[in-house]
């Protein structure tokens, strides 16, 4: 058996392992992988996400046991220090030797630190690994303790530098970007697009300093500032150097492989170095006199090396490598493709610029106007996938190429249907997936939806930039096969929930029959559409479930939770979990009187089980007399806002979590939504209220609340995402109002906020734009709609027992006062339970 040793376990080194184990022939090889970092390969492209969740596992390319499952020996934390090419051995820093038949070098690059005086001072970091980030986090916390308004600078206004700027901003430091060139992202953007990007970044709080050459780093032991000219000083307490990368090519140098003049190990189009048994891939490979610092070419190189070693010698690296990129920098779309800059002698440029919206689009077309040669997009890169494909495939462009980038005019024909692409068009450049492969997996029946396509082809699993296109292709292919992809709620309506929301709102319908007769398919409704319309009526008109009780889901119809034997359980509201002893005694006495099984629920309320239909109004009446109201445990509505005891009692508490939790619970009580909603308020970072497992969660921090949105427990647990930091009570309410209203307007039936948020195009960034920045101009409507619902709140139990008409439903028999005689209870730990189901 031959041995392949892979040196380097970064993204490209990992991709080599993934691609080789996918092939049958890999069974004939022993594969050993060395990684210098203490953990297996992770997604460095999305490193700044580490700040949001501090979850290194989430960034992993594959879990540690993936390697053993695929018979790969992964050795982390051990650097390979030399190669003995004569004996075909590598030597590690721990003086161990390993023999190889093939050696694959994928050591990547390290951050380039320019030789500036004082750069060794404490507080100067590079931005490359999770360990770098952890170091920065710890340091930032330290300086913030002394000076809450501390500033930090990033040296370098390129791609990575701006990412680092975001990281610094997320750490709560005042961010400054220092760039030597007169513009940001000098390698990807022209001057005008760079200016647009700069305006946008400045608008969200980044300070940008261009044309600055740093003479020295000031400070005694630790950094206190940067000096550019004699009187030109920027006071900062931390500096992140992001001035470019340098290949980690020492192994090539030591072992005498052919090297480039300015570094990098020379490879041919087989990824072979000057030693035929040694391959180099990724950011150490010098191919066509170039180092490629992007993920996609690195992945391609890994694929070529795999095929070459396994004997598929016809797989070669193409001469020209596509350097097109699309990314989201601090929430701003930036993309460039083909030739972003172009001399006027080669073609014409068409430029669309709108500085008020921070938008810039430029396309370069050939002199005859027939071919697209390249372009730049800043602020909105939705057209990127299509433009990139047109460029890659040399497709014809409209007579007036401006149509490609001008904002679409309503009713106008949009150019470029994904289905027009040739089969060989590469849709996912990270995983090298073509249109033909995506459509093929659906046509063969292997894939039936987007999730299948992604798992079968891996398209969209790299940078994710192609996802919208993969989605469009999937939907178009399914449609062409006659498979319906519409998400209409049931056979009675051709609309989804969001459509119906708009219809009911605009047409001001008041009954289910109004909606069904005017917009249905001629049937009589069913158990799917009736509760949806009922919920919409509640969300739009603040109707309670008493109004049209026959269209309500079972629980809403009887304002209680139906249990196993057809009896009901009753949960009164206990806002924030705060309850007086008198109320607690009242609950106990009522439970005793009606012989109800009593339990504290998962949402820490008190649930009384085993009530018959006839008993429900009697029980409510007594509860109401003691100051209780409906807890809506039966509704797709707000359940509880769970709280910890907070600063009222707790010696760690930073805010009054109980008081605020009660306020929030009372605000949103009774509001009907696509699914249940839960809240949590924790008085400090210890998070005793488990707020991050809720649809909305608050954690008190210095200076306000951190607001988390879109979490849940259940079958697919998900932590809520950090939405806003250090905000006051009023802002919290404003954001939650808008968030819930948006969710109520647009989610699918029975979709929790977590699933809704996850599938929302643009995700959390989009939510921030809509809720905080009011990008859609609907914030006022959302505020108003929510306030109306809040003002119209009525306790459904009180309403039900005060109306003889709605009371009719609380009899087991319509023609007898008797109760259901079919009920059998058996004893259980001093209480009772229904007889077991057979």
């Amino acid at each position: 058996m031959k041995t392949i040793i892979v040196v380097g376990n970064g993204m490209v080194g990992y991709k080599f392992c993934e691609k080789i184990t996918a092939k049958e022939e890999s069974k004939n090889f022993k594969i050993i992988v060395f990684g210098e970092e203490p953990r297996p390969a992770y997604d460095r492209v999305h490193l700044s996400e580490f700040f949001e969740n501090q979850d290194a596992k989430a960034l992993e390319m594959a879990p540690a046991d993936w390697y053993s499952e695929n018979n790969i020996d992964l050795i982390v934390g051990e650097r390979v220090s030399d190669i003995n090419r004569t004996d075909k051995k590598i030597i590690t820093a721990k003086d161990r030797e390993f023999s190889y038949d093939y050696l694959v070098l994928a050591t990547g690059s390290s951050a380039f630190v320019p030789p500036i005086k004082g750069v060794e001072k404490e507080g100067v970091f590079v931005y490359r690994t999770i360990e770098d980030l952890e170091g920065m986090l710890a340091y930032a916390a330290k300086i913030k303790e002394k000076n809450p308004n501390a500033k930090a600078a990033v040296l370098g206004g390129g791609l990575l530098g701006l990412e680092a700027g975001k990281a610094v901003m997320d750490m709560g430091l005042e961010p400054h970007i220092v760039e030597f060139a007169p513009k940001l992202m000098p390698r990807q953007l022209d001057s005008r697009s760079s200016q647009v990007l700069q305006l946008k970044l400045e608008s969200i709080g980044l300070n940008i300093h261009l044309s600055k050459a740093t003479n020295q780093i000031l400070g005694d032991k630790a950094i206190t500032g940067m000096e550019f000219g004699e009187d030109d000083v920027l006071d900062v307490e931390m500096l992140v150097v992001s001035a470019g990368i340098r290949p980690r090519d020492e192994l090539g140098k030591y072992s005498g492989l052919e090297m480039g003049n300015r570094g990098g190990i020379v490879v041919d189009n087989k990824m072979q170095t000057s030693d035929p048994n040694i391959y180099a891939i990724g950011e150490i490979a010098l191919y066509n006199q170039m180092i490629y610092g992007l993920v996609a070419p690195g992945y391609d190189m890994a694929g070529v090396a795999v095929d070459q070693i396994l004997g598929y010698t016809e797989t070669l690296m193409p001469d020209e490598i596509d350097m097109s990129t699309k990314l989201k920098l601090i929430g701003v779309d930036v993309a460039s493709f083909g030739e972003p800059f172009m001399p006027a002698s080669k073609g014409h440029s068409i430029i669309f610029e709108n500085k008020t919206q921070h938008l810039y689009k430029r396309i370069n077309v050939s002199l005859d106007g027939k071919k697209l040669l390249g372009g730049i997009l800043v602020g909105d890169a939705t057209d990127y996938s299509m433009l990139h494909q047109i460029f890659l495939n040399g497709m014809a462009i409209p007579e007036d190429p401006a149509q490609l980038i001008l904002p679409a005019i309503e009713g106008g024909a949009s150019f470029g249907d994904v289905m027009d692409l040739p089969d060989e068009a590469q849709i996912c450049s990270c995983e090298n997936v073509t249109k033909g492969q995506i459509c093929g997996t659906i046509e063969s029946g292997e894939s039936n939806d987007l999730a299948d396509v992604v798992s079968c082809t891996k398209a969209g699993t790299g940078c994710g930039g192609c996802k919208p296109m993969v989605k469009d292709l999937t939907e178009a292919t399914l449609k062409s096969l006659g498979i319906e992809v519409k998400d209409s709620i049931c056979e009675h309506f051709d609309f989804n929930r969001q459509d119906l929301y708009k219809i009911i709102q605009v047409k001001e319908y008041k009954t289910f029959n109004d909606v069904l007769d005017n917009h249905g398919n001629g049937g009589h409704g069913c158990e799917l559409c009736k509760p949806v319309v009922a919920s919409l009526m509640a969300s739009i008109n603040a109707d309670t479930a008493n109004k049209e009780y026959a269209i309500q889901d079972s629980n809403d119809r009887y304002l209680a939770n139906i249990q196993r034997n057809g009896t009901y359980s009753v949960v009164p509201r206990v806002p924030g979990g705060e309850i007086t002893p008198d109320k607690l005694i009242a609950l106990g006495e009522i439970a005793k009187k009606y012989d109800l099984y009593t339990k504290v629920t998962g949402g820490v309320r008190i649930d009384l089980f085993g009530a018959t239909l006839n008993q429900l109004p009697l029980i409510w009446k007594e509860l109401i007399a003691h100051g209780f109201e409906s807890g809506h445990a039966y509704g797709k509505s707000l359940r509880t806002v769970k709280t910890c005891v907070g600063s009222t009692w707790c010696r760690y508490g930073m805010a009054e979590s109980v008081s605020f939790g009660i306020e929030l619970e009372n605000r949103y009580r009774g509001i009907r939504a696509p699914h249940k909603i839960k809240g949590g308020v924790s008085g400090c970072i210890r998070e005793c209220a488990e707020a991050r497992g809720k649809d909305f969660g608050l954690i008190a921090v210095e200076g306000g609340w951190n607001l988390y949105l879109g979490g849940n427990g259940g079958a697919t647990p998900r932590h809520a995402e950090l939405f806003a930091e250090q905000i006051d009570n009023e802002t919290v309410i404003k954001y939650i109002d808008r968030y819930l209203m948006l969710y109520m307007r647009t989610a699918k039936p029975l979709q929790r906020t977590a699933a809704w948020q996850e599938r929302l195009e643009g995700g959390l960034d989009y939510l921030k734009e809509v809720i905080i920045e009011d990008k859609l101009g609907i914030a006022e409507d959302l505020d108003h709609e929510m306030q109306t619902l809040v003002n119209k709140f009525e306790c459904e139990w009180t309403q039900a027992i005060n109306n003889p008409e709605t009371m009719k439903r609380f009899n087991h028999f319509v023609n007898s006062e008797e109760d259901d005689d079919n009920l059998v209870f058996v004893p259980l730990r001093e209480q009772k339970m229904p007889e077991k189901w057979v």
Binding site: N513, C526, E527, A550, S554, G566, H812, F813, V814, E818
Partner: protein, 126 residues
């Protein structure tokens, strides 16, 4: 015991009706909804299918878990067949012939219904 309960319910065809049981005033049944009628030791779910201007009756016992709940189910149609959905797990049954429309549970028993002088009457064979 379970079997004894469900054995009590047998479909009655219109021609086999021997007793028209005067159950309750029509206004006690919700529009496009149901209520439960007691007849001897039987529980019968009766539905006021207003959209079709029809009345239906069937056993109140859900054959799935033997609970007396069908009268509390939502009604409507599946591909044109009038149906009721059990409130426990949304099993649907044809109101015309009792057949389980979304599974292979036993069919439920159905009974003829007529309205006379504002009263709902259910037909039984005994």
């Amino acid at each position: 015991m379970i079997n004894i309960v469900s054995d009590k319910y047998k479909t009655v065809k219109p021609e086999d009706v021997k007793v028209w049981f005067k159950a309750a005033s029509t206004d006690l049944f919700p529009i496009d909804g149901g209520a439960c009628v007691k007849y001897k030791d039987l529980q019968i779910a009766v539905f006021n299918f207003t959209r079709l201007n029809k009345w239906y009756a069937c056993q109140n016992l859900s054959p799935e878990k033997q609970e007396m709940v069908l009268s509390r189910g939502m009604i409507g149609d599946h591909k044109g067949i009038p149906m009721v959905a059990c409130p426990l797990h949304k099993k649907t049954f044809s109101l015309e012939n009792g057949e389980n429309l979304n599974g292979d549970l036993d069919a439920i028993a159905t009974y003829p219904v007529k309205v006379e002088n504002g009263f709902v009457c259910i037909g039984f064979s005994e």
